[in-house]
Symmetry: C2
Subunit: 319 residues, 2 copies
């Protein structure tokens, strides 16, 4: 049997009882180590499971899946994934390959940031598509994720932004020379994500120009057929840094988890340390935002007064 | 300490090790029993935890939260929620009340259908807002959820539809007479959800009229600036029952979990039994649909030929 097991978010004790039982009886245990990280290392997991763990990088999963699946129709094999097994990537390839080899499989689910983001207090129903913000470099500045945020905002929906991680990457030189030397892992911080976001906005919105929209501007997206439960907005949050609320989250599910709320502009002025250790994520708040949610997230606000003011003037939140 | 603990999706062993430890040391253990259900009853949980459980209905959580929080700054109290603690409802009220009483709290996350839906093989990134389909009755046929599905489809996004559950509901007569007599619990099935959906469509689309769109109709939503990764569609899935793909899921995370894939029309003709036991959910597939996803979900197709045909002709999926 192949067990595809989610490890949850933080440490060795976030595995489920069902997942732990499967690991304990497995002959081989693999850990997928390229889409996310736990707050603890492989050694802590090995000590807790009393099992050796084979770290599976992207190469191994994509090109050596038959080694992972070897004899899995005779013995139990566990394939561990941080978060939920279907969170960052669906691992459909591995499962279809197992099926082709007549290997039965069981999926053991767990929390991932995709649902644990509920902890910042915004109803999960009001999130649109989740996006990933990739690292920019000199020659590559992909920006389609910004369109996805705008699509969500146009429907008044929140956006969970997952920030890039670079694990076991080679420099262009090492890659070209075929040297298996890897760069240190990098985890994008909230300030980097916001800096990249602001760099893509037109000059009038990225702080390089002083002519910004004011709260008295009419909202072109306002229509009359809104549900009565939706607060009447006075201005649409269009990623104007001073008028767009967001909430950062770091190490969600860990005792050291840290949330920070404020406008994009306020968060852009904070040191990286203010956001807690990696991994960081960022929620861009859409207009389906209610008084209780405002109050819940105000507890982490950089400036409680401006949090309430923007919620009222831009998002139309009423008590 | 107040522990807000997700129980996951299926049975007593889906709790995390961290969650189980918290329950074991708690003086009182509450189970929130109105937004979802596990596949096992309270007795199984009590035997596994070796603890008595107090079932907390909506009334209790909303009006007697101080009883739940009593002395929680001196002893440990666990509040258990099926799925993730922030899945169906954020429980922000309870947490803000705890904070007002200077009671520290810890959230222990777990899987919920909001992320476990990844098991049907569609990338979680390509889901839009999640919706709930409520039971219709003679006098109440709310339909705003249909607009939400259309919003998602307009962005080519999938929709996870959660189906209504009615637990501890009173009949209007019993409510009027103040009699605390409750109706048997009801869990909406996929056929009921699809029947309600079809009843809201215009006659040309709900099967009451034979003039339906054909695959050769031009797609008005087609534009030229699509990302090269998005397949070129030939027809937009506009909830036409014969041209909209969907995937049902029941008892996700349980050994008895059942997935069925096909067009809305195909699923509408199946018996309720075909979908497995409650709880049911339904995914409406949007156009960000790829060949590997088609192959993954084909395994559960009512009719593999029409699954592939609609994927090709309506969704533009290419190999």
């Amino acid at each position: 049997m192949l067990y595809l097991i989610g490890l949850g978010l933080s440490d060795e004790k976030d595995v489920t009882v069902r997942g732990l039982e499967a690991i304990k009886k497995s002959e081989r245990v693999y850990l997928e180590a390229y889409t996310s990280i736990l707050g603890v290392g492989k050694e802590r997991l090995e000590a807790f499971y009393e099992k050796d763990i084979i770290v599976a990088d992207r190469d191994m999963v994509e090109t050596e899946s038959d080694a992972i699946l070897e004899r899995a129709n005779e013995v139990d094999v566990s394939f561990l994934v941080v978060g939920d097994p279907f969170g960052a990537t669906t691992h459909s390839d591995l499962l279809l390959r197992a099926e082709a080899l007549s290997i039965p499989y069981v999926v053991i689910h767990n929390a991932s940031v995709m649902n644990a983001v509920g902890a910042v207090g915004l109803a999960l129903y009001n999130y649109g598509q989740t996006i990933s913000i990739p690292y920019f470099n000199e020659s590559w500045r992909p920006d389609s994720w910004l369109d996805r945020i705008r699509e969500n905002l146009s429907l008044d929906l929140h956006t969970l932004c997952l920030l890039d991680i670079k694990v076991k990457e080679q420099s262009i030189e090492n890659l070209a020379r075929g040297r298996k030397i890897y760069e240190p892992p990098r985890f994008m911080s909230v300030p980097t994500a916001i800096e990249q976001l602001l760099s893509l906005l037109p000059p009038s919105l990225n702080g390089k120009d002083t002519a910004t929209a004011t709260a008295s501007d009419p909202d072109p997206s306002m229509t009359d057929d809104r549900s009565p439960l939706t607060p009447t907005p006075t201005l649409s949050p269009c990623l104007d840094p001073s008028q767009t609320l967001c909430i950062s989250l770091s190490r969600i599910g860990d005792p050291s988890q840290t949330f920070v709320s404020g406008t994009l502009e306020e968060l852009s002025h904070l040191d990286e340390d203010a956001f807690g250790g990696p991994l960081h994520s960022l929620v861009i708040v859409g207009k389906r935002f209610h008084a209780l949610e405002r109050d819940f997230a105000r507890r982490w606000a950089v400036n409680k007064e401006s949090w309430d003011r923007v919620a009222r003037e831009v998002y139309g939140v009423r008590d």
